[in-house]
């Protein structure tokens, strides 16, 4: 599926939640259930340090697509990472670097991607796009 199709799918899913609690319970579940990254990548070189929470990000290229894995020490951050990975992982480098991640605002989680939260997510998205850009340049 293409990036925007997945985004629209997520927006649809979130439309079913009645209030913020249901929404956050879902994100927390996502954050709890997914083993997102292999332990070996949870090291200093994959660490994106936020003031509040930390994020580890690993990228690998396979058949012209980028596979992302990531993790965080905070469960809400991790839940949002799961959504970001659902949207961006397995996509083409060019599509990743050009992606407009409108779903975050549409599902009402924009505040978590504000730089003032300094939870590592803003830097993580930037980093993902950088990978996209870098891998595009590869012959």
């Amino acid at each position: 599926m293409e990036i925007n199709q997945i985004q629209d799918e997520i927006i649809d899913e979130f439309g079913f939640f009645g209030d913020w609690m249901e929404k956050y319970e879902y994100i927390i579940d996502l954050g709890k259930s997914l083993p997102l990254i292999e332990e070996q990548y949870k090291d200093e070189s994959h660490l994106i340090k936020g003031c509040q929470s930390q994020v580890w990000l690993h990228a690998a290229e396979m058949d012209g697509k980028v596979q992302f894995t990531a993790d965080s020490d905070a469960v809400i951050t991790k839940g949002i990472i799961a959504l970001l990975i659902r949207v961006l992982s397995g996509q083409k480098p060019k599509d990743i670097s050009h992606a407009d991640l409108y779903f975050i605002e549409k599902i009402g989680l924009k505040e978590h991607l504000s730089p003032t939260r300094s939870n590592g997510l803003v830097s993580m998205v930037k980093q993902m796009k950088m990978y996209g850009l870098a891998l595009q340049a590869k012959p």
Binding site: Y24, I28, Q52, V75
Partner: protein, 413 residues
């Protein structure tokens, strides 16, 4: 005609109404504002004073011969006198307007160290300092080739005084420490520490950012050499603060910034500096901010420090007791002597998650390391959730915090 009747004591609910922001909502919920240690809210008196100043009284200070400029200068200098009185400084010339605590510390660290700190000397700070009272000293020590010493604390978040005293010797040229810890609320015994440092001739700078909003401070009684605090944490505007310094030090120290206001005569060959306090107030100051700060002091005086202290003390005890009932919750900072801050973590729960879920419930707390990273490292935690109080907080705020934490934990655990 002067009225001799004492005004009726206003209730807490009446006082809360002085703060328009407390009436707004956050995420569709009534606001429980528990982040005053980061910055307090402003009473109408301050907001209106600043508006009125810009509407009616604005002109640059200390320069014009015309009426409005002189009125502005008078109002500006009145605020200095109010600040002097607030901390019982011996004279208004020893009260310098700065941008805030951070600038106050930077001013001293930079100016004092250039004159009085040499290669091989040392500066002593503590393990619970705000970054604002660490980094300027690191910079000064690096520039002068001096050593930064850090006095340790115990698990309750109290200074280990014997260790601290053992670190004082003739190499130490400055002790800089906080009066009240912003992350734990610990009130440090600054008076004893100052008196001990003085036996060795070492001056002491006290970071009063978290003390002034909550307690009566008398710089002469403490015998502090420098005492600095921020307007925005004591119900005044952002961008303005106070540095008190003993005249003997301020006179001996070189100016910090150069520019207008701080000079007596300027030729291209040589400039002679103005007298205190102007020597350290280069450029056009934050006039509106200073006047607003003066009004904030008036406002605090109208409520009374005794009452502020008593109310906050009771509320802190109430909050500590209620939070302690929550399973797995650990309070960070359990000093004997505490003011207005309750910091905590919950087993297996990241502070960020807790803070985000409290935000959704209209409860404003701070999460993270509170600009005291070394302190968090000392406890081996990534950060805490910090609820901090001001006199406008009430039991409802605390009840909502406790209920909010429980609800968040139900979702997270």
């Amino acid at each position: 005609m002067e009225s001799t009747a004492t005004p009726a004591i206003r209730t807490l609910e009446e006082i809360r109404k002085d703060f328009p922001l407390l009436e707004r909502e956050m995420n569709g919920q009534p606001l429980a504002f528990l982040d005053s240690a980061a910055s307090s809210q402003k009473p109408n008196a301050v907001i209106q004073k600043i508006a009125r100043y810009y509407e009616q009284e604005h002109a640059n200070v200390h320069r014009g011969v015309y009426q409005i400029s002189q009125e502005a200068t008078t109002a500006f200098e009145e605020a200095r006198e109010l600040a002097r009185e607030l901390i019982n400084a011996p004279s208004a010339e020893e009260v310098i307007f700065v941008r805030g605590t951070t600038e106050g510390i930077n001013l001293v660290a930079s100016s004092y160290s250039r004159k009085f700190i040499q290669q091989g000397d040392a500066v002593l700070i503590t393990a619970m300092e705000h970054h604002s009272n660490i980094v300027p000293w690191q910079m000064a020590c690096e520039a002068q080739g001096a050593e930064l010493r850090v006095a340790p604390i115990n698990d309750a978040g109290e200074l280990l005084l014997e260790e601290l005293y053992a670190m004082l010797d003739d190499k130490v040229k400055m002790v800089a420490l906080t009066h009240v810890s912003n992350s734990m609320g610990t009130i440090n015994p600054v008076k004893s520490i100052i008196s001990r440092a003085h036996t060795l001739g070492i001056p002491v700078l006290v970071d009063g950012a978290q003390a002034i909003p909550h307690m009566k401070v008398d710089v002469q009684e403490l015998d502090a050499d420098f005492y600095t605090f921020s307007g925005h944490k004591m119900f005044g505007p952002t961008g303005v603060g106070i540095l008190y310094g003993k005249r003997e030090w301020l006179d001996a120290m070189p100016p910090y910034h150069g520019g207008g206001e701080m000079i007596k005569t300027v030729t291209f060959e040589k400039t002679t500096y103005n007298e205190l306090p102007h020597k350290f107030e280069a450029g056009t100051p934050d006039i509106a901010g200073v006047i607003g700060l003066g009004e904030a002091i008036r406002y605090m005086n109208s409520i009374g420090h005794g009452r502020i202290q008593e109310h906050e003390h009771n509320l802190l005890a109430y909050a500590t007791e209620a939070l302690s009932q929550i399973e797995g919750l650990r309070i960070i900072g359990t000093a004997q002597d505490k003011a207005s801050v309750v910091s905590f973590i919950v087993d297996g729960v990241h502070p960020y998650d807790l803070g985000a879920l409290l935000d959704k419930q209209g409860i404003a707390v701070r999460t993270g390391h509170h600009c005291t990273q070394p302190l968090m490292d000392r406890f081996g935690i990534p950060g805490t959730v910090r609820a901090s109080l001001a006199f406008y907080n009430n039991q409802t705020d605390i009840d909502r915090l406790v209920a909010g934490v429980k609800r968040a934990l139900n979702m997270l655990r």
